[in-house]
């Protein structure tokens, strides 16, 4: 027996050593405990590993300290070429990034609010600790890094390790003064990632060659090279949204044939790591410093945006205020900035000698137009100077005033000047006009829905206008004289041939009209024959020129637009005007039924701004019974008028 052991002692020693190690490996690779109780190593194994680390780490620390000291002296005191330029570049980059950050700050806050609403527990990087890499595992099979921070520095297992470029790995083992980091390139590592474009989720782990890959992904043609990959937060280790890398290529998984592996180029330079950041604290709120930085960045971004807007507003010709006083250099073609700041000033064309509708500043703003209201007048050469819808209900107010949606009287509007006396020229009778229709019976149902609409239609001065349609008629100047206002406006007033009480917007004369004003606005005074109690827009009484023999007081040239048709609610039926110009046409059937020669005294009564009743086609019961009172058939005859409280005696 003794000879057996002496003879085979070498083999026996080998077997014993191998057996002990196999048992030790078997003990270490037993089924892992639950996560909260899990430890990477058992006590004995941990002790052995700790001894090995303690033996290897001091010389590594010493060598690393020597190396970093030498490099520090070189970098901080000798190699300072181009540092200033680099500093300037970095400052510029910082400013740009601050603006960018301000731009996304609102999105971030919105995301937080939404996540809070959905009770999401988003993890944000709250506190990090820098650490230096002092060693590696030294083998190809294990992608392990040793860092100089350990348990005494607050490091615990499974803390994520990152760099500003991207993730590195997680803490695997912690010793008092050192720790081990398992890189994402290790085959046993795992991180939840998501492809940022295709939103494909997967598990990231390293392959045998040390390249990270998203394993076992369903084949997808959308996965392209260069697609960014970020952490998904599903692993409960890495916060969501940290950069991982970009897609390098897609290969077929040899062990799971239909599935593919997406090879990733790491964002962090894992082969040249020197310093890393350990995320030691994560919270569901953005840290105060980041909040403050976001607020500052947002303020800076807003200031930049405001400045850019101001510069842009200076360059946009449509933003020029027409009421602004003219400066001496307005017609100057010099686009250079007066202060020489290099900011181009807006190019303003010289004033036109003969302004027309193409003259700058005569085009109405888009917001002042109603859908469809601009096309017809533009095509006919009529400027829709006030195509705003009327917001007030039709009324037969004695003042004949109508308000528009915008404050038109505040603006400088063309003057209303009768250009040829009491009657407009024949050419003006068929001009299209921009009209704002309110009330029932508008001949264009598509534009009169809801009782208020804007319509472009021909307006004949002195003829019947469509029932319930407020008309604001404009026309090109019949008589062009170098003068003041470039806008030509013709207003159909309540003096001629209109029959209905519908608010009408008429241009507001704002200045005395000189003879031959290019914007010769026809304003028919309200002392002409008119049968309508039209609620017309009374313009400012500054027009002094009367077209009807000058019998209009210069101080009160009430300009009205008269339309025919049934009265709105509460209104009274008003007969059409007595005088109808031959050849004039109407687009309203009701106005055609009305006796044109029956003069009806103008009676106006105040009507409150009540919702407009849209009187559409009459509703007749199909059973032959008598219609209810609300459906009483309309009579062609004009209804007796209620005496107006304050009849307007302008006829």
């Amino acid at each position: 027996m003794e000879s057996f052991f002496s003879r085979y002692k070498n083999a026996l020693v080998l077997i014993l050593v191998l057996l002990a190690q196999v048992i030790g490996v078997a003990v270490q690779v037993r089924r892992p405990l639950p996560r909260e109780h899990a430890q990477p190593d058992a006590g004995g194994v941990r002790l052995i590993r700790y001894w090995a680390i303690s033996l290897v780490s001091p010389p590594e620390r010493l060598v690393h300290w020597l190396g970093t000291s030498i490099l520090s002296v070189w970098d901080n005191y000798l190699d300072l070429i181009h540092v200033r330029q680099q500093n300037k570049n970095l400052e510029a980059e910082l400013r740009r990034l601050r603006i960018e950050q301000g731009g996304i700050a609102e999105d971030a806050r919105q995301g937080q609010r939404l996540q809070q609403l959905l009770a999401f527990k988003e993890k944000y990087v709250y506190q990090t600790m820098p650490a230096q890499i002092i060693g590696t595992s030294g083998t190809e099979q294990s992608r392990i890094l040793s860092i100089d921070k350990g348990a005494k520095d607050g490091i615990v297992v499974d803390m994520p390790v990152i760099t500003p470029d991207g993730i590195v790995g997680r803490i695997r083992e912690v010793f008092p003064h050192t720790s081990q980091v398992l890189e994402i390139t290790d085959p046993t590592s795992g991180a939840g990632v998501i492809l940022s474009t295709t939103r494909i989720r997967g598990i990231l782990r390293g392959n045998a060659l040390g390249q990270p890959q998203v394993v076992r992904v369903m084949p997808d043609d959308r996965i392209k090279e260069g697609e960014p990959v970020v952490t998904s937060g599903g692993d409960q280790i890495f916060p969501r949204g940290l950069a991982v890398g970009v897609v390098d290529r897609v290969v077929v998984d040899p062990e799971h044939d239909p599935l593919v592996d997406v090879l990733i180029r790491p964002a962090a330079n894992l082969s040249q790591l020197e310093e890393v950041l350990i995320i030691t604290n994560m919270g569901d709120q953005v840290m105060p410093k980041q909040k403050l930085d976001m607020i500052q960045s947002e303020a800076a971004a807003n200031a930049e945006q405001l400045k850019a807007s101001e510069v842009l507003a200076e360059r946009l010709p449509t933003r020029i205020d027409p009421d602004a006083p003219k400066t001496d250099d307005e017609n100057s073609d010099d686009s250079a900035d007066a202060e020489g700041e290099g900011i181009a000033r807006p190019m303003r064309p010289p004033s036109a000698l003969h302004p027309d509708r193409f003259t700058p500043n005569t085009t109405p703003t888009a917001e002042s137009l109603m859908p469809g209201a601009r096309l017809a007048p533009q095509s006919e050469g009529v400027l829709p100077t006030a195509a705003k819808p009327h917001v007030k209900a039709p009324s037969n107010d004695s003042d004949d005033t109508t308000q528009t949606a915008d404050d038109v009287p505040k603006k400088k509007t063309p003057e209303l000047v009768p250009d040829d006396g009491s009657r407009p020229p024949a050419a003006m009778t068929t001009r299209p006009a921009v009209s704002t229709a309110t009330g029932a019976g508008t001949p264009r149902p598509s534009t009169a829905a809801g009782g208020t609409a804007s319509a472009s239609r021909p307006v004949a001065n002195g003829e019947d206008t469509p029932t319930g349609t407020a008309v604001h008629a404009t026309r090109p100047p019949a008589t062009v004289t170098p003068g003041t206002t470039p806008t030509a406006t013709r207003s159909v007033t309540n003096g001629e041939g209109s029959a209905a009480g519908v608010p009408v917007h008429a241009a507001r004369p704002s200045a005395p009209v000189a003879a031959g004003t290019p914007a010769a606005i026809r304003s028919v005074p309200n002392n002409e024959a008119s049968a309508a109690s039209t609620a017309a827009h009374t313009t400012s009484p500054r027009t002094t020129t009367s077209a009807d023999g000058g019998n209009v007081p210069a101080a009160q040239p009430k300009t009205k637009v008269i339309v025919d048709g049934p009265l709105p609610s509460g209104g009274k039926k008003i007969a059409p005007p007595a005088a109808t110009t031959p050849g004039q046409h109407t687009t309203n059937t009701q106005s055609q039924h009305a006796p044109p020669t029956t003069p009806v005294p103008t009676t106006q009564r105040p009507v409150t701004a009540s919702p407009t009743q849209h009187k559409g086609p009459e509703l007749v019961p199909d059973d032959g019974s008598k219609p209810p009172p609300t459906m009483a058939p309309k009579t062609v005859k004009p209804q007796p008028q209620t005496p107006a409280p304050q009849p307007q005696g302008n006829r």
Binding site: Q21, I48, A52, T139, I144, P187, A208
Partner: protein
């Protein structure tokens, strides 16, 4: 070249090393392997602890010492990795035993013989590691003949130089 030569007849009889060398050389190998790989990632294709194990095994010509030496160096190397302690220990224990057993029977002072032995041991080490990792631990490990061949060649070249340098520190007993 004379430095790399080995006095075969004389050195096969008596070879010993100072204790400090026997301790410091494996530690230095582990430290260099860990530190240099940090700055030169391709350095990890070398396996300095394996080369040191082979050298001490074939120099001492004692299978028992070779086994224990291999086991200690291997476990220390395991401690620096994420794998369980014992994987490299088992591999290097077997390598130490075989190298010491061969060192008794053949002339291991010749550089050609050393090179061939090292080449074979590196392949054997990789094969045993693959078996242990894939079969015992069921962990992913990809075998590439090309990569293993390059690795074996590089380790062999480095081993020839390293063994010659270590020959300078051995203590001869007459």
């Amino acid at each position: 070249m004379s430095m790399l030569g080995a006095a075969t007849r004389r050195d096969t009889e008596v070879q010993s090393y100072p204790l400090i060398v026997f301790i410091l050389v494996p530690l230095l190998a582990l430290g260099l392997q860990s530190f240099v790989s940090l700055h030169f990632p391709r350095f990890d294709i070398l396996d300095l602890p394996l080369l040191v194990t082979i050298y001490f095994a074939i120099s001492r010509r004692n299978p028992m010492v070779g086994t224990v030496t291999g086991a200690v160096i291997g476990i220390a190397q395991d401690a620096l990795t994420r794998q369980p302690l014992g994987i490299f220990g088992i591999c290097k224990s077997i390598i130490g035993y075989l190298a010491a057993s061969l060192g008794v029977r053949i002339d291991t002072e010749n550089h050609g013989t050393r090179a061939l032995l090292t080449l074979a041991f590196v392949f054997l080490h990789s094969g045993m590691y693959w078996v242990l990792v894939r079969r015992l631990l069921a962990q992913p490990y990809q075998w590439s003949w090309l990569h293993e061949s390059i690795r074996a060649v590089i380790n062999t070249v480095v081993a020839v130089i390293l063994f010659a340098l270590l020959d300078r520190v051995k203590r001869r007993e007459y």
